[in-house]
Structures are given as structure tokens and as C-alpha cells.
């Protein structure tokens, strides 16, 4: 008995798994080295802080998107609409509700968007891509209707000053992203809800037969992403002092990129929030390098798009291979 117990404590660590755990940090270090060579202004504290600051808001979306991917929900394409809703309501409601309540209202509206997604996908079992494409279009249309297609401007407020400020030399936006990541990492790896996400994404029917609340879990991942998209919108609106319906355009893709680069499978069943944090940093650095390297900004889409396709391709290849054996 004792002998078997000791045997079971040894974790299997094949060279492959070691490589895959270290690949994200290695990639970050490699990017830093390449960046230092490409541009003298890359490896400076102010540049790196700026890069993180600029990507913290979309990083929040990526954290939520991790849950969506892990539970087998593919991706949430309604992110731009929920970001816009969060941003527009935050600024638009300031005049009558005050800055704090308005921000809360922005979060609430985006979360409701997530709840609608969750109901459609988790409970009615509509394909997530179709469902979120639809809700995204509806919500974006609604937001444009709401403000008549123009720009909403915010008023100066202590909340906006706080969001734009820094603590201990680090921008508040980065703090918020770090805290959210710190909370959500154990939510996925160490709570029943997180375990359910992994199980539902790994084998929906088996999870259902194992008394996992499959519908609730899947819906929950989309509600979480809605909430975080809303937070992203609130922060963007407050720090920019203005918001337009197109404020979150392309954010769904940046978030998916970060999730995939971090190594979370888009096909569900595995992944971690910490890896997505790594993915956010990598995508941010790549974007920064392209600009510092003197390439046109449009190249960012080309590079990240290619990376996503390649990363997903590798994932599919290894899944096939694993499945056959």
C-alpha cells in the first residue's frame, strides 16, 4: 500500500510537458531580446509600462475568453458590442447618475449582454459563434441607435482621474488587470466552477452524466466574459474621456489571439488563466515591436492573424495525433 502511494505522488513530466510549460516565458524573453536589438527605445521601463497599460483593458477580455474556450464555447464574438455598451453607458449616464453609478450601470448592461449569450448558448444550445455574432450585431446596433452614431464625451470626475492614475509607479489599469488575473487564475484551476469548465469542454456528455451543471457552466463562462468586456469598456471610456460605438472593434480577435498564444485550446478541455496572461503580454509585445520596427500598424493584424492560424493548426495536429494513439 505504502509503495503504491509513493508511486502515485510522482507526476509524469515528459520533456514535452516541460517544454510546453516553459514555452510562454521563453517566448516573452525571446521577444524582449529581439526587441532590444530592433529598437533602443524598446527595452525601457517607460515603453514596457506603456505597452502593458495599452493592453490591460483588452487583456481583461482575454481572461474571460479563456473560460469560454476552456468550456468548449469556442469564442465570444459579441465582445466589441459589450465593450461599446459598457463604455457608452458609463459616459452617457454620467450626467444623471454620477460617475460611479454610471460605471456600475455600464458593467451591468454588458453583463446582461453576457447573460443573454449564456442563455442562448448554455440553455438553448445554439452554436456560440452564431449566437454571439447575432447578439453582437443587435447590441452594437442598439448602441448606435442610443447615441445616434456620434461620440459621447465624459465629464472630469475623481473616478476618471483614478483610472488614469498610477500606484507605485504602475498604472491603475495594469493593477486592475493584474488583480483580475490573480483572482481568476485559481477560479479556473481550484474551484468547482473551474473544474466544471474543464470537464464540460473535455466531454460535454460525460460531464452531464457526472452530475456537472453543464448548462450553468457554459452560460457562466459567457456571463463572465460579458462582465469583463463591460469592465474593459468602462475603463477605456474613463481613461479616454470619450467613447464611440466602434471603441471595441477587433477586441474579440485580440483576446482570442492572446488565449491561443497562451496555449489554451480553442476546442476546450484544457487551459489556464495564467497562460492567457502570458499570451496577452506576447501579443502586446509583438504589436509594439511592429510599430517600433517601423512597419505599418496594419501589419499587426497580418502577424497576429498568421500566429493564430498557425497556433490553432499545431493544436489540431497534436490533438489528432494524440487521438490516434
Amino acid at each position: 500500500m505504502t509503495a503504491t502511494s509513493t508511486a502515485s505522488t510522482t507526476r509524469v513530466s515528459a520533456p514535452g510537458t516541460l517544454f510546453s510549460t516553459l514555452s510562454v516565458p521563453i517566448a516573452i524573453v525571446a521577444l524582449l531580446v529581439v526587441g532590444a536589438i530592433v529598437s533602443p527605445s524598446f527595452l525601457t521601463v517607460s515603453n514596457l509600462v506603456n505597452v502593458l497599460n495599452a493592453n490591460a483593458a483588452v487583456g481583461l477580455v482575454a481572461l474571460g475568453m479563456t473560460f469560454v474556450a476552456v468550456c468548449g464555447g469556442l469564442a465570444d464574438l459579441s465582445v466589441p458590442a459589450n465593450v461599446a455598451m459598457g463604455a457608452l453607458v458609463t459616459l452617457g449616464a454620467q450626467s444623471f447618475a454620477g460617475p460611479f453609478a454610471a460605471a456600475g450601470l455600464g458593467l451591468l448592461v454588458a453583463t446582461i449582454g453576457g447573460v443573454v449569450n449564456g442563455l442562448l448558448i448554455g440553455y438553448l444550445r445554439i452554436n456560440p459563434i452564431i449566437a454571439t455574432l447575432g447578439t453582437g450585431a443587435v447590441l452594437l446596433g442598439l448602441s448606435q441607435q442610443l447615441i445616434g452614431g456620434g461620440i459621447v464625451y465624459g465629464e472630469p470626475s475623481p473616478l476618471a482621474d483614478f483610472v488614469k492614475g498610477s500606484m507605485l509607479e504602475i498604472p491603475v489599469m495594469v493593477w486592475i488587470f493584474a488583480i483580475a488575473a490573480l483572482i481568476l487564475t485559481p477560479v479556473l484551476s481550484r474551484t468547482a466552477f473551474g473544474r466544471w469548465n474543464l470537464a464540460v469542454g473535455g466531454n460535454y456528455q460525460a460531464a452531464e452524466a457526472s452530475a456537472v451543471p453543464v448548462r450553468f457552466t457554459k452560460a457562466g463562462a459567457f456571463v463572465l466574459t460579458g462582465l469583463l468586456s463591460g469592465l474593459c469598456g468602462v475603463l477605456l471610456a474613463l481613461s479616454n474621456g470619450q467613447a464611440r460605438p466602434i471603441i471595441g472593434t477587433g477586441y474579440e480577435f485580440v483576446a482570442i489571439t492572446a488565449v491561443v498564444i497562451g496555449g489554451t485550446s480553442l476546442f476546450g478541455g484544457s487551459g489556464s488563466v495564467l497562460r492567457t496572461v502570458g499570451g496577452v503580454i506576447i501579443t502586446a509585445l509583438i504589436g509594439n515591436l511592429i510599430i517600433l520596427g517601423g512597419l505599418p500598424t496594419q501589419a499587426t493584424g497580418l502577424v497576429t492573424g498568421a500566429i493564430v492560424v498557425i497556433a490553432v493548426g499545431i493544436d489540431v495536429y497534436f490533438r489528432r495525433k494524440g487521438g490516434r494513439e
Partner: protein, 500 residues
Amino acid sequence: MTEAHHIALRMTNISKSFPGVKALQDVELEVRAGEVHAIVGENGAGKSTLMKILAGFYQPDEGEIEVDGVRVGHWNPREARDRGIGMIYQELNLVPDLTVAENISLGGMPRRGPFVDHRAVTQRAKDVLGELQADIDPASRLGNLSISQQQLVEIAKVMADKPSIVVFDEPTSSLGEKETRVLFDVIDRMRRAGIAVIYISHRLQEVMEIGDRVTVLRDGRHIETRDVAGVTPDHMVRLMVGRDLNEMFPKLDLEPGERVLAVRGISREGQFADVTLDVRAHEIVGLAGLVGSGRTEVARAIFGLDPIDAGEIELRGEVIRVRNARKGRSAGIALVPEDRKGQGIIPGLSVRENFTLPVIQRIAQGVVIFARRERAIVRSLVDRLKVNPPQIERPLNAFSGGNQQKVVLGKWLLAKPDLLILDEPTRGVDVGAKADIHEIIGEFARDGGGVLMISSELPELLAVCDRIFVLHEGLLVDEIARADATEEGVMRAATGQVAA
């Protein structure tokens, strides 16, 4: 070797290693044209690997393959097929929305110019179905056929390529007795047509019945090849496990306690009607019936996976309304499903994560799962269930079928149910693991639980169960006490020869 036997296939000194495992070592296999050559062995003995080498999915590290006396080198699945090797797997590789004829020609549609020649497709299907004496309309949609008919189409698809060697890998595991008969007739005709048939099965009775010669593999090695006529199933089991299994199905004699489950007149449209049965504490009750008789559906309904239209379910004297698996679990019911791959395991999750899934909320107690507590629980269970190797962090899909089944069974033992429903708990499981699983079930009953067990293997039901309920076309037709149960009696009821 006399000249009278034409050797269709010879595999010599085949060795194959995977990272960390020696899957095959110096394995020999020689199959004659016109014989049914059975390959038996426990899970992990190397049968599948050997067949995947033959089919071109794997390359051997060492060894030679000769087909019809001609040595073949490195080859891929397509080349293997072109050289006359046909594979029929347990899972069907068919498209439900296409017609039978289209499925048969799927690999290479006859064409006229750039267009599919539908007349030729139909003709080809008619020819090959005729050869198999299968009464199936080539124009019907595949998905509308029964599983048994679909399997015949799968065989027809392989036969359309005119193979000289056909491999059947566990073909009967999803078939009932009647369908198995049909399959055996087909195999017999192949044998008479001079085709070399390789037949892999865990069911030794079938090997005795259909096989001419049998090769036993154990731990990746060739143990023995001999004529089936000279061996008994006991002998084969001894060769397979390398030890004696004195009693394959040990039975504990327990005094039944109070009633755990009472099902009264439950019905579900199109599946079963007016089913009444009960299970008492310390009791193992069998649910017999052919495939399609509604046994799996009854089990799912009791657990709450499918809703019932009428009737009531009482657990420990209280009427319960189960609408999903969560309600079933809370009521004290557990179900080990028939389809292990589809509904039992989460392949990518570790043994630990699979084990604790139904009770993870309880382990989390509040918010966070305490890793140490979780590991301790899983480790004690892994020891008790003899999961091998006892590595709880390894993904479950890296384990053999028997070990996976132990984990699926074990995760429900953790939920401490009053009633354990088992749907084909030992299907596709090797002899050693089967004995372990029976022991686990016996212990559960001894400790006061009630068991409702479905199995297609009658000897298993007869040996393990105290009472057997028999379903036929969705109706409960018989209840047989242990003392009166015979294979013939159960079979008569299951085939509808007993009035309800």
C-alpha cells in the same frame, strides 16, 4: 507447414515501442487463406498495435510483413488497403445522411466524366450486398438502418475493395445475440470464399465458435498459436493472464435488506412502457434484454438523464422526481453509462480530476478545492480499485479501457450512492480488470448498497445477479430468481417467447 495451406499473411519478429512502453516484442502472426484466425489477449496485450501496424497506421521498429508471399516495406493505410487489407472496427465509419450505396462507394466513387455515375454506385452496392446475402436497400438512408444493418454496410464497404485479408476488431461489442448470428454467417461465407479473416474479441465463447486457430498475446509478446478445436475457454484465459482465475465471477451470498429502489409503471414514449421493478439493499439485480430492448433507456430514466412520461420512482421509500443527473445524484443514485468514451470519461483530464467530478462541490467545501485533500481521497480509491499504473495526475485517455472503467465506477463510489446502476460495466474490459470490477460491485452490495446491472453477457448476469428482470421491446416480460435462471430461460424471454 504443408503446402495445402496458402499463407495469406505472415508477420515475423514485429517489435514496436512507444515512449516508455514496449508495445510489441518479437511477435509472430501467420494467417492462412480461408481461415478465421482469432487474436485474444488482455487490454494492453498488443492486439490493437499489431493490427494498426498491419493497416499501415504505425510502422514497426523491427520485423517483416509478407502479404501473399510478397514482402512489403514501409506502407501507409492507403497502400495497405490497395494490397487487399480490409479493417472493420468496433466504431462504424459511415455517414448517416448518405445512402447505403453512397457509403459503400465513399472511398472511390465510380465516375462518368466529371460526374458521379449513380447507376454504377448502386450496382456496386447491389453486387456486394448480394454477395453478403444482406437484405438491405442500397437507396435507403444509412441513418435509418439498425446498428446491425449499418455494420453490414460497413462490411460491404470493405468487401467492395475485394480484400484478401479482413480484420474484425471487437465487432460484436455493440451487437445483441441475434445480430451476432448474422455477422457470424457473413464471416463464415468470407472464410469459404478463401478470405483470411482476423478476428479480435474479448468474448471467448465467440472465439470458440467462429475461430479456426487462435493466437494469444500477453504483454506485447506472442504466447501461443494453436487450433481452436484443442482448447477450452479456461485454457485461453490462463494463457492470457498467465495465472489461474479459479472463479471468474465470484458471488457473495448476502441477505437482501430493505427496498432501495421501487419503480412503478414508468413509461417513455417510443422507448419503454409500464416498467415496474425493485432493487433491495445488498442485492444485485440484473436487467437483461437485447440491444434496442430499452434497457439503457430505463437506466437513464431512473437516473434522471431522460424524463419519464408516466409512473413513479421511489428511492428508500420516498418518491423522487429526477429531471437531470444532478437530481439523480442528490437522490442517491449513480449511473455508470454504457458508452464509456462518449459519456464516461473526460479524456484530457487527469485520473484525479475525473474521479472527483461528481463530488467536486463537496470537496471544495466553500470556494477553493484543497489539493491535498483531493489527492488523498483519490489515492486511497486508486489503491482500492487497483488502478494501474497508480499515477493520478496522468490524463485518463493514457489508460487502458479496464482502468478507465474503474475510474468511472470509482467516481460514483465517491458520491456514496444508495443505488448503483451499471450499464455494461465490463464491456471491452480485459479479464483481470473484469474480476476487479466484479469485486468492487460485490463490495458495494455487501456494504448495503443496491445494484441494478445491465449486461449483454448472459454468463456474467447469471453469475453475478440475485434476480434478473428481462426486457423485450420496451416491456418487462419476466422476472427470474437466481435459482431458476438459465441462459436459455433469459434468452427465451429476451427474444419475446414469454408472455408478459
